[in-house]
Symmetry: C2
Subunit: 401 residues, 2 copies
C-alpha cells in the first residue's frame, strides 16, 4: 500500500509535525491537519482507480493517512447513498434537493467515518487507551471501532445523551460515564483524566485523523455528482468536523486537478438554542465565543464551543456560503414531515438542514436553479423517543368492526 | 429500461399468471414466483454491466421485476458490506468467518430490500392500499417505502414487537395497530380486513415481489466473493424469504452461465422456542406444522408457520445444508460477545447464526477449511433494550479521584 502521508501542520502558525508519532494539538493550541504529497498522487494515481474499487471509505486510501493496510479497522463504513427529495423540494420552492444519508453507516451515523480512520491510526501509532467527551454518537462509533481494534476506550457523555447511544457505548465494552452538564463539562473531565492517566485524548479535533475520515463524505459527493458538485451543501454544525473535512476534500481534489468546476456554497446550520458559529459569522468574527445556556433537542449540535470554529467560519466565508439557525419546533416538524412525505426518517440534526434549506429558498439565498445537498448525519431510528404518537392497540383482535 | 419479466409461476402446480396484473397466491394456495427470460438476458447482458453501475439493489435491474424505471421507489437500499470476524472465528475453531451486515439498509434491516421491490411493483400495478402483519421490521420497512410512493399502508404487529419498529411504522405515517398474540394472529386480522375492504395483502410470500428484493442479497454475495460463493451460508429463518430468495438468485446465476462453481450449503437457523422448519427438516417432511406456543427474544424468527416452508426445506436439502436451533441464552451471549470482541452490534437473529456456526463447527458439519457467511439481518442499535448493563453516572463530575 503506497502512502502519500507527508506531515501534520498547523493551519494557524504553520508549524509542522512528524505524522509517525502521536500528536494532539499544535503547541499554539490549534488543531493539526494532515498534509499529503498531492504532487506525487497527481503523478501516480488517476481517479478511475477509485471507481474500480468497492464502494466505501477505503477506496480513497491515497488521500487517507493509514500507512500499513493491516492497520485498517473497518466495519464497512462509507459508500452512503444520495437520494432526491422531490416532494419536499417542490413544496419548498427548491429546484433539485438531495439528501446524503449518513445513517447507513456502522453505528448509524457519520461518526463511523471519523472513528474508522481515527482508530486505525491510533492502532498504527500503538496507542493503548483513548478517551473522549461526546454528545452520544461519536462515543458509540469510537466504542465500536476500538472494540474491533482491541484498544481500551473511555467515553463521557452528558446525562441526557440519547439512550440508544449510551447503550451502544456500553454494549461495545467502552468504559461509559454520564455527567451532569454539557459536552463541555464532559470535555473537562476527559482532559483531567488524560493528563493524570496518560490516556490519549480523542475529543473533536484534539487529534488530526478524525477529520480525514469525515473528509470522505466530500470525496463521495464529488463522485456521486459525477465529478461536479452541488451548488449548495447544508451541514448541521456542532464541532464542525464534517464541514471542515468536506472543504479539505474539495480543495485537495482541486489541487490534484481532478475537480475543475466551482466549489459549493457551504452552509453551517445550528439550533437557535446553541449557535456560537452563527453568532460569530453574523458579527464578522474569526472565532466564536462560548455559547451560554446551550439547549436544543438536536444533541449532536449542542456544542457551545468548538475548537475548529475558525476553520468552519473560513470554509463558510471562502465558499460564499452562510450560517443560520432554526428552532427546535421547526426541527421536530420537518423531522416528522420528511418521514410521512418522503419515507425518510432522518436525525434531528439532518432535519435542521431541511428547515434551513426552506428558509434560504424563501430568502432567495438559494435559487430555484440551484442543486442543493443536505447531509443527514444519522439514522432517525435512533431518535424515535422524540415521537409522541403511538400505535393503537386492537382490543378486539380485529380490524373489521 | 429493458425488462426481462416473463411470468409468475406456481412452484407446486406449475400454473402461470400474467405478471402485469396484481396477484397474491396461486389458486392452489401456494406462493407465486417470478420467472425472467433468462435466455434473452444471457444473450443481451454481461455481468460487467452490473459492476459498472453504482452499488445497491437496482444495479441488478435485469433480474428484477420493475418494468418502468419511474416506478422505482428507492431509499438507497442494498450494497451492504461484508466483513470478516477473525477473532470469533479463531475462538470457535472456524476457518474464515464473514458477516454480511444488512443493518446498513434504510430502516436498519434487510426488510428494506423486499419493501423496495415490493412497493415499486405495487406502484407499477396501481395498488392504492397495502396491509401486512409483521414481527416489526417488515412493517417499518414497508411503511417507509409506501410513504415515499404515496401508497396507503396498514401494519398490524404483536403488542410486544420491538418499540423502535412500532415507532418507525407510526413515524412513516402507516396506520399501525398492535394485537395481543403472535404474528399469526396479526395475519388473521389482516386477511379479514383485506377481504372486507379490498386492500392488497402483502404478508410474507402473499405477493411475489418481496422475494425478488431479498434475492439481491444472493447477487451481492456472488459479486462480493468474486464470482465464487462461500461454502456455507447461515440464515436466521422466520418466514424464510431470504433463504428462498438467495437460493433463487444462485440458480438464476447458474442458468445464466455466470456462476460456474458449486452452490453453498444453506443453513436455516431457528430458535429453540420456535422451530417449525427445523422440526420438519429432522422429521424428513416437506412441509412444517404450526409451532405451538412460539417464544423467543429474536422477534424476527418468532414465526410459528411459514407459507414458504416447503421452499426453505427444499433449498436446505438440495444444497446439502442443514437446519438447527439455538437457545435464547446462547443468542444473548453471542450478541454481547460479538459487540465487545469484533465491534459488531448485530441483531438477535444474526447472533443466532453466530451460535449456529459455532455448533456446526463443533459437530464437524463445518470444516476449518470452509468459508462461512452469516447474514446479519438487522442493526443491533434497534435492540439495545435487551442490554441490562448501564452507563455509570459520575456524581463528582470527575474521573480523577
Amino acid at each position: 500500500m503506497a502512502t502519500y502521508l507527508k506531515e501534520l501542520y498547523c493551519p494557524r502558525c504553520s508549524a509542522t509535525y512528524n505524522p509517525h508519532e502521536p500528536h494532539n494539538l499544535c503547541e499554539c493550541g490549534t488543531p493539526l491537519l494532515v498534509r499529503y504529497d498531492l504532487e506525487r498522487i497527481a503523478r501516480e494515481v488517476t481517479p478511475d482507480v477509485w471507481e474500480r474499487r468497492p464502494e466505501g471509505l477505503w477506496r480513497y486510501r491515497e488521500l487517507l493517512p493509514v500507512v500499513h493496510e493491516e492497520n485498517i479497522v473497518s466495519l464497512g463504513e462509507g459508500g452512503t447513498p444520495v437520494y432526491e427529495l422531490e416532494k419536499v423540494a417542490s413544496e419548498y420552492g427548491l429546484g433539485r434537493l438531495f439528501l446524503k444519508d449518513e445513517g447507513m453507516n456502522p453505528t448509524g451515523t457519520f461518526k463511523a467515518r471519523g472513528a474508522a480512520v481515527g482508530v486505525s491510526r491510533a492502532k498504527e501509532l500503538g496507542l493503548k487507551t483513548l478517551a473522549m467527551p461526546t454528545a452520544g454518537n461519536a462515543g458509540a462509533a469510537w466504542a465500536a471501532y476500538t472494540s474491533r481494534a482491541g484498544i481500551k476506550m473511555v467515553v463521557v457523555m452528558p446525562q441526557d445523551a440519547p439512550l440508544t447511544t449510551q447503550a451502544e457505548s456500553v454494549a461495545y465494552g467502552a468504559e461509559t460515564y454520564l455527567i451532569k452538564g454539557l459536552i463541555s463539562d464532559a470535555g473537562k473531565a476527559v482532559r483531567e483524566a488524560c493528563a493524570k492517566y496518560g490516556w490519549f485524548e480523542v475529543a473533536t479535533l484534539k487529534e488530526p485523523y478524525r477529520i480525514e475520515g469525515k473528509k470522505t463524505m466530500g470525496l463521495e459527493i464529488w463522485e456521486q455528482f459525477g465529478g461536479n458538485l452541488p451548488d449548495v451543501i447544508l451541514y448541521p454544525t456542532g464541532g464542525g468536523v464534517g464541514i471542515i473535512g468536506m472543504w479539505k476534500a474539495f480543495n485537495e481534489l482541486r489541487e490534484l486537478g481532478w475537480l475543475k468546476g466551482r466549489l459549493p456554497k457551504m452552509v453551517a446550520v445550528q439550533a437557535e438554542g446553541c449557535a456560537p458559529i452563527v453568532k460569530a459569522y453574523r458579527e464578522g468574527k474569526d472565532k466564536a465565543e462560548f455559547f451560554q445556556g446551550a439547549q436544543t433537542i438536536a444533541a449532536g449540535i449542542r456544542v457551545p464551543s468548538a475548537l475548529g470554529d475558525f476553520l468552519v467560519l473560513d470554509a463558510v466565508r471562502k465558499s460564499g456560503g452562510t450560517a443560520l439557525t432554526v428552532t427546535d419546533n421547526q426541527i421536530l416538524d420537518a423531522w416528522k414531515h420528511l418521514a410521512v412525505t418522503e419515507g425518510a426518517l432522518i436525525c434531528p440534526e439532518g432535519a435542521a438542514c431541511v428547515v434551513a434549506a426552506k428558509k434560504l429558498a424563501e430568502e432567495g439565498f438559494i435559487a430555484s436553479s440551484d442543486s442543493v445537498l443536505i447531509l443527514n448525519t444519522g439514522a432517525g431510528m435512533k431518535y424515535t423517543e422524540l415521537l409522541k404518537e403511538k400505535a393503537k392497540l386492537l382490543e378486539s383482535g380485529s380490524l373489521v368492526s
